[in-house]
């Protein structure tokens, strides 16, 4: 169709897509914001129980995952730099490292949740209902919801990065058209920022 | 407002009504004033009468004027509302306490001496503090004539309201927070009595241990059920409400669902007791699980015996 050709014309506006991404990040922040409000209210209402429950969590796994995410955040940021320098190979390499670190994070999460399950701790589990105080039940409820939602965001982030990598490889994302990779990076950093808060709130403050 | 005869039904009426009238007064002033101005403009500057508009882009002076005047007025209205509300959150120390239980879908009231009723009896001119206990979901205790309302939140500590009835009479008491099917039937009455009449009523053990009580557990059973509110969900005339009707229930063959499986049982003492203490163990077929809550701790074994005696009579 000749006529439809011009309506599909995509004018490329890097700043528009960047602002768009930032706005989307804002909604994500407020999404987690709702949960942070709940967390802080319940922590305030049940300080002792939250204290007790947090001891159950493994600071080591938490710290390990923090380190992984921080490194991956750096590599994805570097990927943009190398794209701008027109170095496709480095871009792909750095993004791959990011993806791998993200996957390792998920594997750790899997084991961490698995340990909780084997201790009889899962939402609505009989063990929790019978032996735990209300504050502890709330703590673990929030723990599963918030880290679960965060893991979901990791997965989304990984998908976006993967898409960006494919496009970089095909050459449709390049130094003068870097928005997709930059946005993938922005999203990944958001996931990082959220974890930066989740980690002390669940693992450190005991 | 509510109705002129009950104007002074409680200590809060005057203050609330005053705030109401002042806010309404200011509102009407603006509403009428602005509407009139608007209509006058529409008439006067109609195209026919004023073919050529005069361009005016604005006026800082006017903007300031109509920011500051409403600002002052809103502060005034806010203050009024706050000042009249303030005392509602501070019950006097010597207030008489009554515990109110709200459950789907009735209220019951327990006095300090253990007496329970389904109608709220109160002495005139004495402050009362109602301690609010919600058994299942949110309810809200609302007495329009007294201008008071407070949500009953399950699990909330220190959930109370207070007021001082100042006029004898009978007033409506509604549940004002939506609580499910029979929300609109969750109402009862407040009866405000002369102080001495009230004391008599409260200490009148004859009503509790009336001749009927000793000789007829039936009447006691009925009274207990009345005051704790079984009839909100169960009829005695065979009509189906939220729960099964009690008509002819004794000795009946019933299909119940136990742990997901249907079975036949005969309604006997043990079954009724279980139905009351652990209603979700056997769920009568065709009815919803989870609506009826356990009455363990609220009804003693004796109470239940009386209830059973009464149920036996419902042929």
């Amino acid at each position: 169709m000749e006529k439809s050709a011009h309506i599909e014309h995509e004018h490329y506006d890097a700043e528009a897509s960047k602002v768009g991404m930032w706005l989307f990040i804002f909604t994500e922040l407020l999404l987690f914001g709702g949960l942070f409000i709940i967390y802080s209210v319940y922590r305030f209402m049940n300080p002792d129980a939250f204290h007790l429950a947090a001891e159950e969590l493994d600071t080591f796994i938490g710290a390990l995952n923090t380190v992984l995410l921080l490194i991956s955040s750096m590599t994805i940021a570097m990927a943009t730099t190398s794209l701008q320098k027109n170095n496709k190979l480095h871009t792909l390499l750095l993004s791959t490292v990011t993806v791998i670190l993200g996957l390792v994070f998920l594997v750790n999460k899997y084991f961490e949740w698995g340990i909780k399950f084997s201790h009889g701790i899962w939402p609505g589990s009989p063990h929790m209902m019978e032996t735990m105080s209300q504050g502890e039940i709330l703590f673990f409820g929030l723990y599963f919801i918030m880290t679960g939602l965060h893991a979901l965001h990791i997965i989304i982030g990984l998908v976006i990065i993967a898409v960006a990598m494919v496009r970089v490889n095909k050459g449709t994302v390049h130094a003068n058209r870097a928005a997709l990779l930059e946005n993938a990076g922005l999203y990944w950093h958001l996931v990082d920022v959220i974890w930066i808060f989740l980690f002390p709130l669940f693992y450190l403050i005991t | 407002m509510y109705s002129s005869e009950v104007t002074q039904a409680s200590n809060f009426v005057q203050g609330v009504d005053r705030a109401f009238l002042i806010i309404m007064g200011i509102s009407f002033l603006f509403l009428i004033g602005l509407t009139v101005v608007m209509l006058v403009f529409v008439y006067k500057y109609n195209k026919k009468r004023n073919p050529k508009p005069t361009q005016i882009e604005g006026s800082v002076k006017l903007e300031l004027l109509w920011t500051i005047v409403p600002f002052v007025l809103t502060l005034l209205m806010f203050y009024l509302g706050w000042a009249e509300w303030k005392p509602m959150s501070k019950p006097p120390k010597d207030a008489m306490e009554v515990t109110v239980y709200g459950r789907m879908w009735n209220f019951s009231f327990e006095y300090e001496n253990g007496r329970r009723t389904d109608t709220l009896y109160l002495p005139k001119d004495k402050p009362v503090k109602l301690n609010l206990v919600a058994m299942d979901v949110l309810h809200s205790l609302y007495i329009p004539a007294f201008r008071v309302k407070q949500d009953m939140v399950p699990g909330k500590k220190d959930n109370f309201m207070w007021f001082e009835p100042q006029k004898e009479g009978e007033y409506e008491l509604f549940c004002a927070e939506y609580c499910g099917l029979q929300h609109s039937y969750m109402y009862t009455f407040v009866k405000v009595l002369e102080d001495s009449t009230f004391t008599n009523w409260l200490t009148d053990t004859t009503m509790v241990a009336s001749a009927a009580d000793v000789e007829s557990p039936t009447a006691t059973g009925r009274r207990i059920m009345q005051s704790i509110g079984c009839f909100a969900c169960h009829s005695i005339d065979g009509s189906k409400l939220v729960g099964p009707s009690f008509k002819g229930i004794w000795g009946e063959e019933q299909t119940v669902v136990t742990g997901g499986e249907k079975r036949q049982i005969t309604v006997d003492e043990e079954y009724i007791r279980r139905s009351i203490y652990d209603p979700n163990a056997d769920v009568a077929d065709g009815f919803n699980k989870g609506l009826m809550l356990s009455y363990e701790g609220q009804l003693s074994d004796d109470d239940i015996n009386n209830i059973i005696e009464y149920l036996k009579t419902l042929k």
Binding site: - | P53, T54, Y178
Partner: protein, 537 residues
């Protein structure tokens, strides 16, 4: 760009693209077609919601059972509320008129992300079907009220999950629309169109979009928690597991109070366009109106607690929320004053959109002023959760957003469809509707002051009189509405051809043909230094 002139002659309604017929609509990324898609879907849902409202009024004609039982009634007001709020007044003006007009008013060819725009509509449709599926399948229609208050919302045996997920999806659609509009306003203003030259409708869309973006996710996560609580028994709001039902209310109203300003801001924007056009006069206090728009958007975020005065909050919170509720009324007052001043020394052309606009101001004042009664602590305790609140929000939601929607409909109708409606019938329709409106909702103020609680299926004899009047009012209003809708539907297909600028407006949409060409402008317009949206000479 490379669009030839002849090609652009075809208006957007006639344009034949890659797809034909219906597909050419539901797969179109043209902002004007998407605007119309929203118009049709919202009109359909409005008919459903309105009929439910009518049914409720019929039930309340007399105490006891009239046409439905209590369960049905409770389900009816829940579905009525969910439809009206999430599917009609929240998307209403932004999605219909915002989509249609925003790019044109900015001198742009489309919104910033046309595909995302189409996705928003699809999500809207998906949300609608999800909610409706709750009615058709499963153990019963949801009966919690549109507020889904915990703990009842996870105790009820009815089919709540689809409704909750539906509301979530609708929220997502709303977020994406807001995001799109924000980027469009930031990036696609035509040369010379400075921020201080934007039409006021665009400014209100801007404020609204921020609220959509920031507030909606909060209710999104809250609804997800309700769902998780129902499915997995995770304890979050359940008091039996230590949860606090009042926290649910906080989170719900953190969104839902700002949401009422999502509903009203674009409505105010439309009125701010109509009043100057029909007075042929520069809007009075342009900057003050912008400032009040942004003030409403911002302060409106901070006052959610006024829905919870009786819930058992701390005294400090009560004090704070009441104070800010009063403060947030001031910017609305500023707008009313400026609108009325715009009329002063104008040359007023009294036409249907203008009737709607001044009746908007009237009912909006009543609705808003009754909001003051509700915002005040002492009086709120008395009338909270009574028919008074129902009257307040119908006056301001229906009277405000609804009236403005009709005003906008009659104002931009010739632009959208390129045809004019029958003006006499439009005026008659307005009059009947207006009378019906007053008769329908005014008695509810009285009933509320008498103490009749809301969400009551049945009521005591003393409330009978007011309810009868109100029900009669609803019948008058239906009559008016049917006249209006019939007139519009007929005229869209058969009305006389409309001029390019029938009302002599000054904003950019009146500089393009009616209906607008496919890409709005052959050449991106340039706004001269002394030009502006309200510069009447």
């Amino acid at each position: 760009m490379h669009t030839s002139h002849a090609e652009n002659e075809a208006n957007y309604l006639k344009y034949k693209g890659k797809y034909k017929g219906l597909l050419g609509w539901i797969l179109s990324t043209d902002h004007k077609r998407i605007g119309l898609l929203y118009l049709y879907s919202i009109a359909t849902m409005f008919s459903v919601g309105a009929l439910l409202g009518l049914a409720m009024k019929f039930e309340l004609l007399a105490p006891g059972k009239t046409i439905m039982d209590a369960q049905t009634y409770n389900a009816t007001f829940t579905v009525h509320g969910v439809i009206m709020i999430f599917m009609i007044v929240i998307p209403g003006l932004p999605a219909v008129f915002g989509n249609f007009l925003l790019p044109i008013m900015l001198g742009a060819k489309d919104v910033a992300f046309p595909k995302l725009n189409l996705l928003s509509w699809w999500l809207y449709v998906a949300g609608v079907f999800l909610v409706l599926s709750a009615l058709l399948f499963g153990p019963g229609t949801p009966d919690t009220g549109w507020t889904f208050y915990a703990p009842y919302s996870f105790k009820t045996g009815t089919n709540l999950l689809p409704a909750v997920f539906g509301a979530f999806v609708l929220g997502f659609s709303s977020i994406l629309t807001g995001l799109n509009f924000l980027v469009t306003i930031h990036r696609l203003r035509c040369p010379g169109l400075k921020w201080t030259k934007l039409p006021l409708f665009v400014w209100t869309i801007y404020g609204t979009a921020w609220i959509q973006l920031l507030a909606t996710p909060v209710v999104g996560i809250t609804l997800v928690l309700i769902a998780l609580e129902r499915i997995f028994g995770v304890g979050v709001f359940d008091p039996a597991l230590g949860g606090d039902p009042i926290l649910y209310q906080h989170l719900f109203w953190i969104y839902s109070h700002p949401a009422v300003y999502i509903m009203i801001l674009p409505a105010m924007g439309a009125i701010s366009e109509i009043i100057p056009t029909f007075s042929q006069k520069h809007i009075f206090g342009y900057k003050a109106i912008i400032a009040s728009t942004m003030a409403i958007a911002f302060v409106g975020w901070l006052v959610w607690g006024h829905h919870m005065y009786t819930a058992g909050m701390s005294g400090t919170a009560q004090y704070y929320f009441s104070l800010l509720t009063f403060i947030v009324a001031i910017p609305s007052a500023i707008k009313v004053f400026n609108w009325i001043s715009t009329l002063y020394k104008g040359s007023i052309n009294v036409q249907t959109p203008f009737y709607w606009a001044i009746s908007f101001i009237f009912v909006f004042m009543i609705g808003g002023l009754s909001g003051l009664v509700l915002g005040s602590l002492a009086t709120n305790i008395y009338v909270h959760d009574t028919a008074f609140v129902v009257a307040h929000f119908h006056y301001i939601v229906f009277g405000g957003t609804g009236f403005s929607f009709f005003a906008a409909m009659h104002y931009w109708f010739p632009k959208i469809f390129g045809r004019m409606y029958d003006k006499a019938w439009a005026n008659i329709g307005w009059l009947v509707f207006f009378i019906g409106f007053l008769a329908l909702y005014s008695p509810m103020f009285y009933l509320g002051m008498m103490g009749m609680p809301r969400r009551y299926y049945d009521y005591l004899e003393e409330f009978h009189g007011g309810n009868i009047l109100s029900t009669f009012g609803s019948w008058i209003m239906v009559t008016g509405l049917i006249i209006i809708i019939t007139n519009l539907v007929r005229s869209a297909r058969r009305g006389p051809k409309a001029e390019m600028n029938p009302w002599h407006g000054k904003t950019l949409e009146w500089t393009v043909t009616s209906p607008p060409p496919l890409e709005n402008f052959d050449e991106i317009p340039v706004i001269a230094e002394d030009d502006g949206p309200y510069n009447y000479k």
